[in-house]
């Protein structure tokens, strides 16, 4: 199957290209050309812009469903909802919970993925917890916090049939360094978060193989000029990735742009979205905690931010508005950077010849008109047929 996308603009890795035709063949991008042969099959998106599909590497739920529901239905609904928001790949993300709830969630994701998801595709499971520290628990339940345990991880990994790709932990916990090294050997990514580790401890964890920090500035000790802490470690190391929630609540806009100046393309936009995303204000729960969402902000009874209700594309728009950087740069913080962090940039994350044709069709307001995965348009904004009614 070979077709061309005709559009006004294309977000490419280093610039936004003007009107042309983008080749899509056998589910992969080809080259962008100014003309096409008369016989070519053309999908006409004149007036629109084509961008690479977004990749959300930290998302718990959306639209009334959560990975911790432990049902295939929840995983499928999350996948479908993400598609409408321009997300083509995601990491179904768990949080700290009881052993049996985590088992159930991991099994549900594994089975749903095996049976095929209706929308955004899973790039593997992300375990956010349970090897965390109470001082920065956020909305994680400290009742289930424990020291890193390779045996326990192995049990989960076997339930997941090898599909756990990433785990977050607090490196100051006992056995953490050994655990990180083991993960590194196994090719599982390690993220530092919900932690009160010292600057030095974080550096040790990075040396042992940790490559990522969980939602920068949240769930960690802040930057102090005499005591750089976890945030300091995330900012000073130029090789590690740092997740950032650009909803304007989790991090002040000016601190977000400061982080961008320091981290550059290692800054990774995520949502940390929970079930109340895309939902009206009201009462929800996150794991076992009741949560109230007011004006789109979800908090626990203690007042902690309880995940976010951010849409990744809004994170892109926000950071673009806050900073003076070009849209194509900011967009890639939510597509190419996450792909690189997952060591998947050979295949996904940008519009580049040979990569899988995951793309989003956008209007001038950056509102999603259609979303394609592997070259197949899986979602379009207005369902037609009865459209003229």
């Amino acid at each position: 199957m070979h077709y061309f996308i005709k559009a006004d603009r294309f977000i490419l890795e280093n610039h936004i290209a003007e009107a042309g035709y983008l080749s899509v063949e056998n589910g992969r991008f080809g080259h962008l050309t100014k003309t096409v042969p008369d016989s070519a099959e053309v999908i006409d998106w004149s007036g629109y812009m084509i961008a690479p599909g977004l990749v959300d590497t930290h998302i718990h739920g959306i639209n009334g469903y959560d990975i911790m529901d432990g049902t295939k239905e929840a995983v499928r609904h999350i996948s479908g909802a993400l598609l409408t928001l321009g997300v083509t790949r995601f990491l179904p993300t768990t949080l700290t919970s009881s052993r049996s709830d985590l088992d159930k969630a991991i099994q549900a994701v594994t089975e749903a993925v095996e049976e095929g998801l209706p929308g955004a595709l899973s790039e593997g499971i992300y375990l956010e917890g349970p090897f965390f520290t109470e001082a920065y628990k956020g909305a994680q339940n400290p009742k289930y916090f424990q020291d890193p345990d390779i045996g326990l991880f192995e049990k989960w990994q076997s339930l997941a049939k090898g599909n756990i790709v990433k785990i977050a932990l607090a490196p100051e916990r006992e056995y953490a360094m050994e655990f990180i090294k083991t993960m590194d050997d196994k090719g599982v990514l390690v993220s530092i978060g919900h932690t009160n580790a010292s600057y030095g401890c974080c550096q040790e964890a990075i040396a042992a193989g940790a490559q990522n920090f969980v939602h920068l500035f949240n769930g960690m000790s802040g930057l102090h000029h005499r005591n750089p802490g976890v945030a300091g470690a995330a900012l000073t190391d130029t090789n590690v990735y740092a997740e950032l929630i650009c909803d304007g609540y989790h991090v002040h806009p000016d601190v977000a742009t400061l982080a961008l100046k320091v981290k550059n393309e290692k800054l990774m936009l995520i949502t940390d979205c929970m079930r109340a995303g895309m939902m009206p204000d009201g009462h929800y729960h996150l794991g076992e905690f009741p949560v109230v969402m007011q004006n789109g902000v979800a908090r626990t009874e203690e007042g902690s931010l309880a995940g976010s209700t951010l849409r990744l594309i809004d994170g892109v728009k926000n950071l673009h508005n806050w900073s003076d950087q070009a849209l194509f740069d900011i967009w890639h913080l939510a597509s190419l950077t996450p792909a690189k962090s997952l060591e998947r940039a050979e295949e996904i994350g940008s519009i580049h010849p040979g990569k899988l044709a995951d793309y989003v069709v956008l209007d001038d307001e950056l509102s999603v008109q259609a979303t394609a995965i592997n070259g197949n348009i899986k979602y379009r904004k207005m369902t037609t047929g009865n459209e003229d009614e």
């Binding site: 199957m1 239905e73 996948s79 598609l83 899986k378 979602y379 207005m382 369902t383 037609t384 047929g385």
Partner: protein
């Protein structure tokens, strides 16, 4: 047929909203018939606002939608089920088990059609059915030529509809080929029908509906024979009357 002329789309949506709310607030177990498409979106938005202002609740309401694509699961974002949830249901606190759409991925579709009919009957039939008007007079997925006696059934989407959608799908096989829709007789069984019409491009269709002959070539013309139809149409839609 009662024709209520209003200024524009907003007025139409508000008028329809007030009417629905009055019904919902005054009935013990109201059953609403709902439609997809762009016309009722304003009505749904108004209903959500009224719900937020606590002027109406939907705990006691049942809804039945006209149609659904065949082959799409409920969690497919292209399905009408998904659409209704996004545009209305999840915002108005209605228990999802009280909202019904024909199931597009039922193993036995003709069985599903029968079941949908009996569900409507068990609910005591639809009290108020919201309808939009297709340019060619279609209602639901009942295209011109559909028998007036039809009940919930499977329709083949015609080539023009499929071709219109085809640009969205790299292979024509991916375009839904069928839909499951209430039949015209099913719709006519509703105790009351509220038809929403907006915009100049609907003017011809509205004129044909009101003044034309009753014919299967223009499905909506059957509404002339229903004893309780309210048409809410804006000025532009009424321009050919």
């Amino acid at each position: 047929m009662e024709l209520i002329k209003v200024k524009d789309y907003n007025e139409m949506s508000k008028r329809a909203c007030s009417f629905i709310i009055e019904k919902v607030n005054n009935m013990e177990k109201p059953v609403l018939g709902l439609a997809t498409g762009s016309t009722p979106e304003g009505l749904y938005q108004n209903l959500i606002e009224k719900y937020q202002k606590q002027e109406v609740t939907f705990d006691h309401v049942q809804t039945f939608n006209l149609d659904e694509y065949v082959g799409l699961k409920k969690d497919d974002p292209n399905s009408y089920d998904y659409y209704m949830n996004e545009k209305l249901f999840k915002h108005i606190g209605i228990p999802r088990e009280q909202t019904h759409l024909p199931s597009g991925d039922a193993a036995d579709l003709s069985q599903e059609a029968l079941q949908y009919e009996s569900l409507i009957q068990e609910a005591g039939n639809i009290d108020v059915q919201i309808l939009g008007l297709g340019l060619n007079g279609h209602i639901g997925f009942n295209e011109p030529g559909t028998q007036f006696s039809s009940r919930t059934h499977i329709v083949q989407l015609d080539e023009s509809t499929r071709n219109a959608n085809a640009r969205f799908f790299p292979t024509i096989e991916d375009v839904p080929k069928q839909a499951i829709t209430m039949g015209i007789d099913t719709i006519m069984q509703s105790k009351m029908i509220v038809l929403l019409v907006s915009g100049e491009k609907k003017a011809n269709a509205l004129s044909q509906l009101i003044d034309g002959e009753v014919t299967e070539a223009f499905p909506a013309s059957i509404l002339q024979t229903h004893s309780n139809v309210m048409i809410i149409a804006d000025q532009a839609a009424c321009s050919k009357l």
